[in-house]
Symmetry: C2
Subunit: 428 residues, 2 copies
């Protein structure tokens, strides 16, 4: 039986969940994998947390150096989050010859090139399945299952907080502010929700997933990012009438013009498999040139689902002594040859407030047409909002720049109409 000692850095939600899984399954892993996994050290400033979990005081390390010099620690699990001190600790572990398993999307997205370099130098494993989409097995699927494909596109609901908020807004017709407050009360959103609701968390994950998919580093700074704070119950309700569900989507495409990476709210057809991914569930929908469509669905966050991904990596690391690394030249920046497309192709939902008089529709139509935009669908409900008539337009596929120009043209002519909302529509 192989002895495997681990250290856990951080006993927050995920760290505690990981500790519980490892200790409760110790006998199970002896039987299934012939390994005896023990938690030899934890690093946690709030000592009482460790004691509450039943961890021996002697296992509570007083410094990272103590863990690095502990010969019984083979694998270091980093579940602290944030860049520092996590980065220094991970590098210290690797340089001490320990393999590392991390759930830290921000760290991995920003510094995977440095971490991988240190791992290779020291012949250590570096695993990060838990960094993206919790218990959903998407990293290894891209590395070890779909790697024979040219990945054409990926589309994901990869942030639990925003999906919870948008689902509740859709179900109850409540406003963003109301639902956010409720989510904070229930612990689904943090006191400062910026990282989630402004799409940073999703952008970090998309950076990791699209780098693996497209075989070149996709820095998160190349990702177009728009959060959900501007999404209104009114637009969700009009969207529903048109057969759409609103989601915060992370989209990566690899087309003939280059790579397109973006995180933003989007309408998606209600019969699309992603549309029924509700509440805190997450899913990634990948299209490859051979496999066609694959969707991976599950809990994108939480102590035990994320702990499941971490423990999966720990067992893999313990049972596969020869380490392999990411399948692209893991540099700080994208390859020089990589082109990024910012003038996205998409369909668009526009909600306008228009004057209730003859000729307005003709003028709006003329502006759209002048910008090369074809209208797929139009609704003018028999109602008024703040004295103006709402006019909802869904376009055929067009380009971001064309829409921006058309919106500016309409708004410049604000005696007739004003564009209140622009939401991208996934048309395929």
């Amino acid at each position: 039986m192989k002895k495997v000692g681990v250290a856990i850095l951080g006993l927050g939600v995920v760290g505690s969940g990981t500790y519980k899984i490892l200790t409760e399954h110790r006998e199970f892993y002896k039987k299934t994998h012939n390994i005896d996994v023990t938690v030899e050290n934890v690093l946690e400033l709030r000592k009482e947390r460790a004691l509450e979990l039943g961890i021996n005081e002697s296992a509570i390390a007083s410094s990272m150096a103590e863990i690095c010099s502990n010969p019984d620690v083979d694998i270091v699990i980093e579940v602290m989050g944030g860049v520092e001190p996590a980065k220094s600790f991970v590098l210290a572990a690797l340089n001490a010859g320990k393999s590392v398993v991390t759930s830290n999307k921000e760290l991995f997205c920003k510094y995977s090139h440095e971490l991988e370099k240190a791992a290779k130098k020291n012949n250590c494993g570096l695993f990060y399945e838990a960094s993206c989409v919790g218990g959903v097995p998407v990293i290894r699927a891209l590395l070890d299952n779909l790697q024979g494909n040219k990945i054409l596109s990926m589309m994901g609901i990869i942030n639990g907080t925003t999906n919870y908020i948008l689902t509740k807004m859709s179900d109850c017709g409540a406003s963003y502010e109301e639902v956010l407050k409720e989510a904070q009360k229930l612990g689904y959103a943090e006191a400062d929700p910026t990282a989630d609701v402004e799409g940073y968390d999703a952008a970090y994950k998309l950076s990791i997933l699209s780098s693996l998919s497209f075989h070149t580093k996709i820095p998160y700074t190349e990702i177009y990012r728009e959060g959900i704070t501007g999404v209104s119950a009114l637009d969700i309700s009009y969207g529903k009438k048109l057969g759409y569900t609103i989601k915060l989507l992370a989209i990566g495409k690899n087309g003939t013009n280059g790579i397109e990476v973006r995180v933003h709210p989007a309408f998606i057809k209600s019969e699309h498999p992603l549309a029924s991914v509700s509440d805190s569930y997450n899913a990634v929908f990948v299209t490859g040139d051979s496999v066609q469509d694959v969707m991976l669905y599950g809990r994108g966050a939480g102590a035990l689902p994320t702990g499941s991904a971490i423990v999966g990596d720990v067992i893999y690391c313990a049972t596969h002594p020869n380490h392999s690394y990411s399948t692209f030249k893991n540099t700080e920046k994208a390859d020089a040859a990589t082109k990024f497309v910012t003038n996205f192709e998409s369909a668009y939902y526009l909600r306008l407030a228009v004057k209730d008089k003859a000729g307005v529709l003709a003028k709006v139509s003329a502006i759209l047409s002048k910008n090369g935009i074809n209208v797929a669908q139009i609704i003018q409900p028999n109602e008024k909002i703040d004295g103006a008539v709402p006019l909802i337009i869904v376009t055929h596929l067009t380009r971001e720049n064309s829409v921006n120009k058309a919106v500016a043209d309409i708004n410049a002519n604000d005696s007739i109409a004003k564009v209140e909302t622009v939401i991208r529509v996934v048309s395929d």
Copy 2:
């Protein structure tokens, strides 16, 4: 650059698809994985198939022995299907020191113990991701992602032909016979559809998936199997009214009383993620004690999706020189300690034809009650079928034996009612 020579046994649908993927992506794999994969040999009696694909005549082997003695062949891809000669060929390849990638569910389900033994003896890789659910990455997810979990249950739509037939029956209200004919015309069902429609194919796959999930060999002979030939458009339509969708489900459960493995048509709530898996799409819904629910969805068959799984295994094999094997004692039979439950717990849909007179419902209810069965839902539509009144009953959770006994009791009293259909209902 590492040179990787492969041989393909069988150029049917999947073999041809695999050949195309490998040859069209040769330059791509050089860049992404630093490997040069070439097809050194094919084994195919119909020589013209090979020539049509553009394969050099010199690469068409005249025997398995020729492939075994070709030093340029590192990996043998077996996509012939069936037990023999596939089994002899795979064993010959392993004994000649070649790693094997197979899509053959029948062979792997029946003889994985023999194949794995030969692979271990010769220190060769043995890969079978393509044996279950085509391009959906389920095998590796169970082995390398979810292996930290005690898997509590799995539920899958893992046969494309039957899912296509049931979807069409549901959409159009057509009969099984009509849709089968259409499916055969379109190539979605074989001339002899037995393996698919009687659930053998699904049972082979469930044997493999549940063995991996539950860490003991689950011989396919232990799997309860019922096909879709008895499913009627009438029951599908009543099911819809009750909020259910019909699917051929493969179910594995690991509970306190033992392991339950079964393949049969079942009603599932229309809002369940599996209910919207339509046409030839497949999905596996796995519940683990840590990860909770995970669903993996995609194309369960077809040249390129299955080819994607095969090529994924080929690349993995070429880039991971240390081989690992299944995580259970891969024996011919289940461990002596393994208990199989046959008196399943389930909810049930019963359609009865009853006499249109007073007291019948009371008598039926009394029989159900006597057998300890609680009724969850009852519908008596205001219509007659062949002179009798249809009575639809959905039970709460009960046991297979209780339902069988109740059905026998009702039918024994056939002056009042006859049970026309029994369909299990997935209630959670």
